[in-house]
Symmetry: C2
Subunit: 511 residues, 2 copies
């Protein structure tokens, strides 16, 4: 690997060999920031002594994380106080005034009015508040794009990617909520330009991935996007498994019994299956490149497993970002990059130079996240276990780029997605149901608005899955311990969220 | 349209403008033909006086239809006789001997042995016999390819198609069993070269069709198959609706309330949606051609609606094959072709010459089927209503090219396919359940054997759908009134059927 090159040239003239290692510069939020009164853990977003960590990006990411999570985390204390007031005079008006002031929205009046007859229906109010908070968050995300890169930065990323020899990056992490931020935070990649579909245990669906590959390649042939088909670039598939360095035996990947070796091997096997599927289904040397990445969910540090000369990812060989971060602290930017390049070359000597460059870029990007966790979470998250705020079921959820916000179940039907759903409901049984709070489920299907009938079909699918979900968890649903918000979104026109219903409606409240 | 050309030149030198109007020559069956002792309705397979009807093809199609349907139709009379013998001495051995001799397979011994304790379990035996008959039929089909065209004929078809301006034909008929023979019999097209997916009311899925188009186009770019992407040919999507000329108000399409105009308009709308989806999703002039076809399920005569100059199919404008057949009877082949060309030009003057040629080819092909129905079924089927022998659920069923043999429910999950399943179960309630016989369901998913894990996933899907099917019709399943045969097939390697289980197994019989 050549040393001494300026991979992070900040001048506007992009050098052909310029890397992408520098975390993205984000444009400032354009909307009015929502109040975030109790912003916690604001212990200095800058880590002294690491040349590759730009404080600006970390500040911006922290603002987003704090704003969104604090909005969700206000709900429980608020309802606890509300519960104490439920038998007071003027309860309804008082509650609404409090809700407006503290949460930013009103509560369903009928539930408040009926509190004197039966106990205040806290389950209903909890689901209502989670859904209203989610709605405001998603609206804000699509309207103001708080995490979007500058257009110039997006171009820079595409150019860097192609210099590394790739035209598309498709990432399949585990659906565990502790990986929900893997694209924009952990790897500092532009979420709009990198594909993400999460599956329990990173066991992504080979047939679905095959279809995405076919779509991508046709677009290169027909439309020259993201580049023309004659460019010698490849489709890169990344699988992200995870583990817990602090409590490896209990806080690792549930789908693989918290066994890191099993999780890594399973992700490697699935990657190979996908590659083999393409090689066997298409002639003329069709193939893809593979990359295996491990995430320590306690610290957000990563292990990158560069493929060998045959393109095979090896669970036993990897470069660890945290050790590299520590060894390069205090060095100048050039020296850090040189050192990273050397370490990658030492482990990945046989792999393509472009792949090595990409791996180095991921490691350097991750430095910013290591600094972020050290600065804002004492180097190790307080919630190293599950702490998701809602389940995200369906297709879409581009707005969810935050750790432990959402447990994903990407699916088209409950029939196929039942195993991932069961894991999610189990997680929320521990988090919520055991305390008597419901599992809040956002059911959502994105559609391509330019396809006739696509919106209607997305709506029908959302309602069908809602029905099937009730059918799978009938006791929870009957007891008000499973609530669903139904939404669709035109992803082709980058629309905002359209809420089409919720399980709270039969009480007479329309959402 | 040029007149006087020899569209049916039988010489081996294919002229560039040679049509495909001549129904396919099939190679003779290579296996031992199964006994078909009571071959009915053999009233002369040749119709005097029509120049475009080759007796050879009709003889072969009749042999296949008679052999398969008679095998299914032997089951009920056989079981009726068996029932009468159930209390006789040596019943088991006698029954097995009869079954071997008359049906070609044995019965589950335990059911026979237990007949003295409880009544002979006719429901179980009925499902067993249907499944064994289906298995033998499917095996025979894939081993001996009784309907396959000669390789030279297949090339001729592809060449003709491309001369008409198309590289792929994708047909979506209604899933009604009375259309199950539409490809190979009604339209006399090679079933292996033409795509078919059936949906209730011909309401095919736009997103799935879009994926097939993408796959086809990528294959043209990457592999030059079926032709290279620079050839100015198009993807042709055909929707086939249906009606009953004899009992239009009751024996039309159930999904459209037996209203022919509604059925035709719905198929036209779905075609347009698909075309618009492609035009809006892909740039650079991407589009497809559309063709609307109506089938009279009483007579197998067709109406072809040629598109207008803008490519729009019009439900109100069509050419009817039966009237043309009658008007051209007694004429020489050249004169018939000329006449057909004129009639098509009169209705479809504005459409592309290639489309007109294709429409004329379909009409001429259908003449053979009109002759077939007249010769073998008195011009109008005895079973103008439903008379399916089993339900085919899943993906595959290339072997089913016979009228009223199978009600199709093409689906990936019961959750999505429930409406088509409900229609099927309703049909079989009338045919079987009301008399106490079960609904026999063949559950089947074809897979691409070259994709790693595809077989295992197909097997898992088959078992999952079987479970979901029981969940949807629990009472029928508990009463032994719904039985399923589970099978998968490697369609990429053109494999035979692999039976992986059946609902008859819990009784102790392994299938």
């Amino acid at each position: 690997m050549p040393t001494g090159r300026n991979r992070h040239n900040r001048s506007s003239t992009r050098r052909p060999d310029a890397g992408y290692g520098r975390p993205m510069e984000l444009r400032p939020e354009r909307g009015e920031p929502r109040a975030a009164p109790d912003r916690r853990a604001r212990v200095g977003a800058r880590v002294a002594g690491h040349a590759l960590v730009p404080a600006g990006d970390n500040e911006r990411l922290l603002a987003h994380e704090a704003q969104v999570k604090e909005a969700f985390d206000r709900i429980e204390p608020f309802l606890r106080r509300l519960s104490a007031l439920q038998h007071e005079a003027d309860f309804t008006d008082r509650a609404q005034a409090m809700a407006r002031a503290e949460l930013g929205f009103e509560l369903p009046r009928r539930i408040l009015d009926n509190a004197w007859i039966q106990q205040l229906d806290i389950r209903h109010l909890y689901a209502w508040c989670v859904f209203e908070t989610y709605r405001a968050y998603a609206d804000d995300f699509y309207r103001h794009q708080p995490l979007a890169p500058d257009p110039a930065e997006a171009d820079r990323f595409q150019a860097w990617l192609q210099e590394c020899g790739f035209h598309t990056v498709d990432v399949s992490p585990c659906s565990d909520g502790r990986l929900a931020h893997v694209i924009r935070y952990v790897l500092r990649l532009p979420h709009g330009l990198v594909r993400r579909k999460s599956f329990a245990g990173a066991n992504f669906d080979v047939e679905t991935s095959l279809r995405r590959w076919v779509e991508t390649e046709l677009s290169r042939y027909r439309e020259g996007a993201p580049n023309t088909a004659d460019a010698p670039t490849r489709y890169l598939k990344i699988a992200v498994y995870h583990f817990s360095s602090g409590e490896p035996a209990t806080q690792g990947c549930a789908a693989h019994g918290s066994d890191t070796a099993v999780a890594a091997a399973a992700a490697r096997d699935r990657l190979r299956d996908f590659q083999e599927a393409i090689e066997n289904s298409f002639c003329c040397g069709a193939s893809i490149d593979l990359l295996l990445v491990g995430l320590d969910t306690d610290t957000d540090a990563i292990r990158v497993h560069p493929p060998d000369a045959e393109g095979e990812p090896d669970p036993a060989r990897y470069v660890e970002s945290e050790a590299l971060f520590d060894r390069t602290q205090g060095l100048g930017a050039e020296a850090v990059r040189e050192r990273v390049g050397e370490e990658v070359a030492a482990v990945a000597g046989g792999s393509e130079p472009g792949m090595q460059r990409f791996v180095a870029g991921l490691l350097e990007n991750n430095f910013a996240q290591i600094a972020y966790v050290r600065a804002n979470h004492g180097g190790r998250y307080g919630d190293i276990g599950h702490n998701e705020r809602f389940m995200g079921v369906g297709m879409g959820f581009e707005e969810v780029q935050l750790r432990n916000l959402t447990y994903f179940a990407y699916l088209q039907t409950v029939e196929e997605g039942a195993p991932d759903l069961d894991v999610g409901v189990k997680i929320f049984s521990g988090l919520n149901v055991e305390r008597g709070l419901p599992v809040p489920v956002v059911l959502r299907f994105d559609y391509h608005g330019q396809v006739p009938g696509a919106r209607e079909r997305a709506e029908a699918r959302t309602r069908r899955v809602a029905e099937a979900l009730r059918g799978r968890f009938p006791r929870l649903a009957e007891q008000g311990l499973l609530h669903t918000l139904l939404a669709v979104r035109d992803c082709a026109r980058n629309g905002t969220l359209e809420v089409i219903g919720s399980s709270l409606e039969p009480t007479g409240e329309t959402h």
